[in-house]
């Protein structure tokens, strides 16, 4: 019977475009990245390679640029994640507690979500300008001497972090605000009836009930922070001064798109190692989350 057959096949007709897309642009690349990372002395043009092994991983790990890139990336995550999360929790709580101007203020805080990293990065570059920048001007009003934000190796990492935090806050705040709105107001009423002070309510009720959202935020932000790369172009037109702001994704891009001939094996190995680090960090996070919820 034709119709019976059709009923069986139908789900796969619905899925077909998706399966094709995912297979070509997600599944195959994953397999291929693993394969390429294991191929020794792979030459893209001829397709020759001398055998399988961990040579690429060894080269990458021993490469001082990669080490620097991994160091910078970890440092970036370690600075941006805690600061942005704390700021976002406080701002979201305050935003949630007000009645007047709530929509207006929310719009202001959420607006950078639409940020094109490149375009607004340029605005920040202008603001960070050594001589004509508005940031140094404001600092000078408080007697702080001008800082060469972008042109000195001592301070350009800070500039990157400031920009990173600003860019990541809106989506973090949105997620937290929606998490706060899902908390039943009766808990607050009960706490107020018991005479709890705002700070106590914040630490004893808001934070614990918001914990699932905070962990979600940590996951999402961690993944995006590990991929820091795009920001480097508008701010520094490259990886800082003399590669001092090399990041892992920049390293991957550099190995297969800047270098000629491209070193696919090294790029693949670096990509897998980045995934490995993200994976481990996520596992750690889930572990802590489970511990805390028990």
């Amino acid at each position: 019977m034709k119709s019976r057959f059709f009923e069986k096949v139908k789900p796969f007709l619905y899925l077909a475009p998706f399966i094709v897309g995912v297979t070509i642009f997600t599944l195959y690349p994953i397999v291929n990245v693993v394969k390429m990372s294991l191929m020794e002395n792979y030459k893209y043009l001829t397709g020759d390679f001398t055998g399988y092994g961990f040579g690429n991983f060894k080269t990458v790990i021993e490469d001082q640029y990669f080490r620097q890139a991994m160091g910078n990336t970890l440092k970036y995550v370690a600075v941006v994640i805690p600061i942005s999360t704390c700021l976002a929790v406080v701002i979201a709580t305050l935003l949630n507690s007000i009645k007047k101007f709530q929509a207006l203020l929310q719009t202001a805080y959420f607006l950078p979500m639409v940020t094109s990293v490149t375009a607004v990065g340029l605005a920040w570059r202008f603001m960070f300008n050594y001589k004509q920048g508005v940031i140094n001007y404001v600092l000078s009003l408080f007697g702080v001497p001008a800082i060469d934000w972008l042109g000195a190796t001592a301070s350009n990492f800070s500039a990157l972090c400031v920009y990173g935090i600003w860019a990541i806050l809106p989506f973090t705040i949105i997620l937290l605000v929606s998490g706060l709105q899902n908390i039943d107001p009766m808990y607050y009423t009960a706490a107020k009836v018991d005479g709890a002070k705002p700070l106590r309510i914040f630490f004893r009720i808001t934070i614990p009930l918001l914990a699932p959202t905070i962990f979600l935020v940590l996951t999402v932000n961690c993944i995006s922070c590990f991929k820091v790369y795009n920001e480097l172009f508008p701010l520094f037109a490259g990886p800082g001064i003399a590669y001092n702001l090399f990041t892992v994704v920049y390293y991957i891009y550099y190995e297969f798109r800047v270098l000629t001939p491209a070193k696919y094996g090294l790029a693949a190995a670096a990509a897998l190692m980045l995934f490995g680090v993200i994976f481990v960090v996520n596992m750690l996070k889930s572990f802590v989350e489970k511990k805390l919820s028990n």
């Binding site: 929606s178 899902n182 990509a271």
Partner: protein
């Protein structure tokens, strides 16, 4: 009159000050775009440009770089990605949510695991796939890898799952086909969720930088963000001209955001928290 508490005043001060910082870069960018070369290097900086009718910077940007082409390319890429990805997402979410087939849950769990893989890891192979198909430096190269999304499928499936099964049965009893049920009932009911997904997708596509940078070379197919970057690095532009070009890139999305703010906030609230 009710007495206003000091703490409330402080609260609003803090919030307004923070909001100022959040939107200041946009303000500085847009006002900077109207300043003249001498005005912009003034110290102390002026908060407002002398005139908002000074369009020289925009003129310069549009003359030196084909921003109109970039803009059209960006719009094309955005529309193509949002529409194509929207369709595959709807079909896939429906299949996973309502249709029965062997291995349904297993396949879906595997997909969720794939969500953890960063796109940056796939870029190497995708670049070579595109080159292999001789699509490098074409508009197709910008669109094809983004015609499916596991993340958006996951969000939409969550929403589809929340539609009661009895609605499906009621429609089936009336002789409604799956196809018709999907488009007449499921899709209209999921409007808030769908709009959110499409908006997030539109924002992401509009701002995407890495892939267009890798997959394109020539000016004819560049999109705005990469075109903007090329404009600075090739032209060594001055700040006021940079601001004008950046404004062209950012303004459309600011408008989209202001129009659709409610949808984004509510939609993210619903979908985002299931994860």
């Amino acid at each position: 009159m009710k007495k206003i508490k000091f703490s409330t005043v402080l609260l609003y001060l803090v919030l307004f000050f923070g909001a100022l910082i959040m939107i200041f870069p946009f303000y500085w960018m847009i006002t900077g775009a109207f300043k003249t070369g001498t005005e912009i290097v003034q110290m102390p900086p002026t908060m407002l440009p002398n005139s908002f009718t000074n369009l020289d910077n925009f003129k310069f940007a549009f003359q030196t770089a084909p921003f109109v082409t970039y803009f059209i390319n960006s719009v094309e890429m955005m529309i193509a990605c949002v529409v194509l990805c929207g369709v595959t997402t709807i079909l896939t979410a429906f299949a996973f949510s309502r249709l029965r087939f062997p291995g349904r849950n297993l396949i879906f769990s595997c997909l969720l695991a794939l969500m953890m893989v960063p796109f940056e890891m796939l870029v190497i192979t995708n670049y070579r796939t595109i080159v292999g198909w001789h699509l490098h430096d074409t508009k197709w190269a910008l669109i094809l890898p983004f015609t499916t999304s596991i993340f958006y499928t996951y969000i939409l499936k969550g929403f589809f799952d929340s539609i009661p099964e009895s609605l499906y049965q009621a429609a089936k009893v009336d002789g409604c086909s799956d196809w018709k049920y999907l488009w007449r009932v499921m899709v209209p009911m999921s409007k808030p969720s769908l709009v959110t997904i499409m908006l997030l997708n539109a924002i992401a596509t509009w701002n995407s930088f890495m892939w267009p940078m890798i997959a394109t070379n020539s000016k004819e197919v560049r999109t705005l963000p990469f075109g903007l970057y090329a404009f600075i690095s090739e032209g060594g532009a001055k700040n006021e001209r940079m601001m004008a070009a950046a404004t062209v890139v950012v303004l459309p999305m600011i408008i989209v955001f202001l129009v659709a703010r409610k949808y984004i906030v509510n939609g993210v609230a619903r979908g985002g928290l299931k994860g």
